[in-house]
């Protein structure tokens, strides 16, 4: 299927109005939260940005870079990849002691620009109806806009993932037209993919699956010389992805004395989520502090006593705390996690800032967020379950949306969920709504003017349908399995 031709129509004017509404919402959220002190992990992202700006300053004045400062503030405990911090670095380069107002204002500008860019890409690749959907979901969700002025990477990671998926749709069109995507195109896609990863390491399952699909496409869709060219293009993408990831992995690994690919938080998260927290430090951890900091402090103490890496100790601690985990307890915890993932999506409205009395704006925003969240949940369920047997382009879109949503929903299986993680999936849910609505519109059109015959019988198409069906069955199976085991 050819991409829709670009013409400015009536729908585009509606789109402009809706996007304007999103911008207005961000402005209102800025007013709501502009002075809010950094909350939780925001502090780490800001510190890393401060440290990165200092490193650039040192480079600019040809002085030595303070490696210890980078290790402490950028790598830290190895929990967070520095995507958000890199985005914030220019601000701290100009305003080293930037106030929270300027930080939140700057973050709002960046996320608004990214949202508008993502919406423009939806418009360009999937057409105006899909873009309208995207402008509404997630564009008009108040709590989503709130995260636009926050320093967590969840929201931006979701928006970048949408761009990745749209690029993948475009490349699939190139393949469908019988051509091999150029190295440049695939490398561009890989660049966006690794950017998404830097913003949020929970992207990994979705991105790895996309990479595998790209590899499979190169092998199956082409023969002979074309296949070699396609495989080379995919390899170029892998090289781009890995070489951008590598500086972080190397710095974090060297700093923490163990192998770090994306994040060190998995053993801690597994133990805190599924294990016995009273056994995490081979017994209870220190009585003050949090379930995240105390285990790290303890692992550093053991590392100091033994000269080993704190990461090795954390692995052992996690395994010890999880020694009594059964399938039954695991399934129960995952279900609880999924519940936590979807309860109280507007939680952070109350938290940013946490010391302000709830006003009418906040209450309305909560209400609207909850409603949109119900819509979003329905969209996600439909996108995971529905299987398209229609044209190749639609099948590709549905498959990609399934992969992305499935990959993001993998998070509650390994990590305690909270009221923040949905913001990543929200952007993909918006894309899914666009895909579903254009699908529905096409069906309506066909009902009115039926076209003779079904889609041509094609092996490639059947594989796409089969993959969609497998993912849908997998989603149902996973949920049913959890309920049976729990």
């Amino acid at each position: 299927m050819r991409p829709p031709r670009f013409r400015i129509g009536r729908a585009d004017w509606v789109l402009v109005v809706l996007l304007g509404a999103h911008v207005l919402l961000q402005v209102l959220m800025f007013r709501h939260s502009s002075g809010a002190d950094p909350v939780g992990d925001e502090k780490a992202y800001l510190d890393a940005a401060r440290s990165l700006s200092n490193a650039l300053r040192d480079l600019g004045s040809f002085g030595p870079v303070d490696g210890a400062d980078l290790e402490r503030n950028v790598v830290g405990n190895g929990w967070f990849m520095p995507g958000m911090s890199l985005l914030l670095t220019p601000l701290f380069l100009v305003l080293p002691d930037a106030s929270m107002e300027s930080v939140r204002g700057y973050l709002g500008l960046v996320s608004t620009a990214l949202f508008l860019y993502a919406a423009w890409q939806v418009r360009r690749v999937l057409g105006p109806a899909a873009a309208l959907c995207f402008a509404v979901l997630p564009g008009l969700i108040p709590a989503f806009a709130l995260f636009g002025v926050a320093a967590w990477g969840d929201l931006n990671a979701g928006l970048v993932l949408v761009v990745v998926l749209l690029r993948a749709v475009e490349l699939a069109r190139v393949v469908a037209a019988g051509s091999v995507p150029t190295v440049r195109q695939v490398a561009g896609l890989a660049g966006w993919a690794v950017a998404a990863l830097y913003l949020r390491s929970s992207m990994m399952p979705a991105l790895v699956t996309l990479g595998l699909l790209a590899g499979a496409t190169a092998l199956w869709a082409f023969r002979g010389r074309e296949r070699r060219r396609a495989v080379l293009a995919v390899l170029a993408g892998v090289v781009v992805f890995v070489s951008v990831l590598l500086p972080w992995s190397l710095l974090a690994s060297a700093s923490l004395g163990g192998r770090v690919v994306t994040t060190t938080s998995v053993p801690l998260a597994l133990a805190n989520t599924f294990g016995d927290r009273d056994e995490f430090c081979f017994g209870p951890c220190d009585p003050a502090g949090t379930i995240w900091f105390n285990p790290v402090q303890y692992s550093r103490e053991v590392a100091r006593a033994t000269g080993r890496s704190e990461l090795e100790i954390q692995e052992q601690m996690s395994a010890y705390a999880r020694r009594d985990v059964t399938l039954h307890s695991y399934a129960g915890d995952v279900l609880e996690n999924l519940e936590r993932y979807r309860t109280d999506p507007a939680f952070y409205l109350d938290y940013l800032p946490y010391d302000k009395e709830a006003d009418r704006f906040e209450e309305e925003s909560r209400d609207v967020t909850d409603r949109f969240f119900t819509l979003g949940t329905i969209v996600v369920v439909l996108a995971l379950l529905l299987v398209s047997r229609g044209p190749r382009d639609r099948q590709v879109q549905v498959l990609l949306v399934k992969v992305a949503l499935g990959g993001l929903l993998f998070q509650p299986f390994v990590h305690m969920a909270g009221s923040r993680y949905w913001t990543t999936a929200a952007a993909v849910a918006g894309l899914a709504l666009g895909v579903l609505v254009t699908w529905g519109l096409d069906l309506l059109r066909e009902l009115r003017r039926p076209r003779p015959g079904g889609p041509p019988d094609d092996t490639g198409l059947r594989v796409l349908t089969l993959l969609q069906a497998l993912l849908a069955v997998g989603a149902v199976g996973a949920l049913a399995g959890l309920h049976l085991l729990a």
């Binding site: 502090k43 800001l46 440290s51 650039l56 600019g60 004045s61 503030n73 929990w79 081979f282 103490e301």
Partner: protein, 171 residues
């Protein structure tokens, strides 16, 4: 040259200039709360050293340290975990450490030096995995030591392991 190339060059140049002049704006100061510096160990930070200059000659981490009123006055209770050594090697190392401070054995896992006495309770980690670095817990009962330093680190319970008692919880 094409227009996009020119724009890119201009943007790159502007970024470079910004980096070069950014030193003039001052330095950013990270707060560092997410990776606090690791304070020194509870028994070597100088705050509450072990009595009679006892130095433990094996890898350990202190888990808690407190003074407890007993019939014979205040006694100190230090709970620590030992690493890497077998139980027999740990007990030998413990004995070595106390003898080095002038203590004589006064029973199984008990030592005395004049009026001072030290006892230890050694327990292996339950369900200990074969390769576990942490091996078990030693509870030491020994003469109490007063605060011996004015270093601010002595106010940091993460270093001293003297955490204030938990506030009572009311239903």
């Amino acid at each position: 040259m094409r227009r996009p190339t020119l724009i890119r060059l201009a943007l790159g140049g502007a970024a470079l200039v910004l980096v070069v002049v950014s030193g003039a704006f001052g330095r950013a100061e990270p707060i560092g709360t997410y990776r606090p510096l690791l304070g020194p160990d509870a028994l070597t930070n100088g705050c509450y050293p072990l009595a009679d200059g006892i130095e433990l000659d094996f890898p350990y981490q202190v888990r808690s340290d407190r003074d407890l009123p007993t019939g014979g006055g205040v006694r100190r209770r230090v709970v620590l975990q030992w690493d890497e050594l077998s139980t027999a090697d740990l007990e030998a190392a413990l004995d070595r450490s106390l003898r080095a401070a002038g203590y004589e054995p006064a029973g199984p896992l008990a030592w005395a030096k004049g009026a001072h006495s030290v006892t230890a309770t050694v327990s292996e980690l339950p369900d200990r995995p074969e390769d576990s670095v942490v091996r078990g817990t030693v509870v030491l009962h020994l003469p109490s030591t007063p605060l011996s330093s004015t270093d601010p680190v002595c106010a940091d319970p993460y270093s001293t392991k003297r955490f204030p008692p938990k506030p009572r919880e009311f239903p």
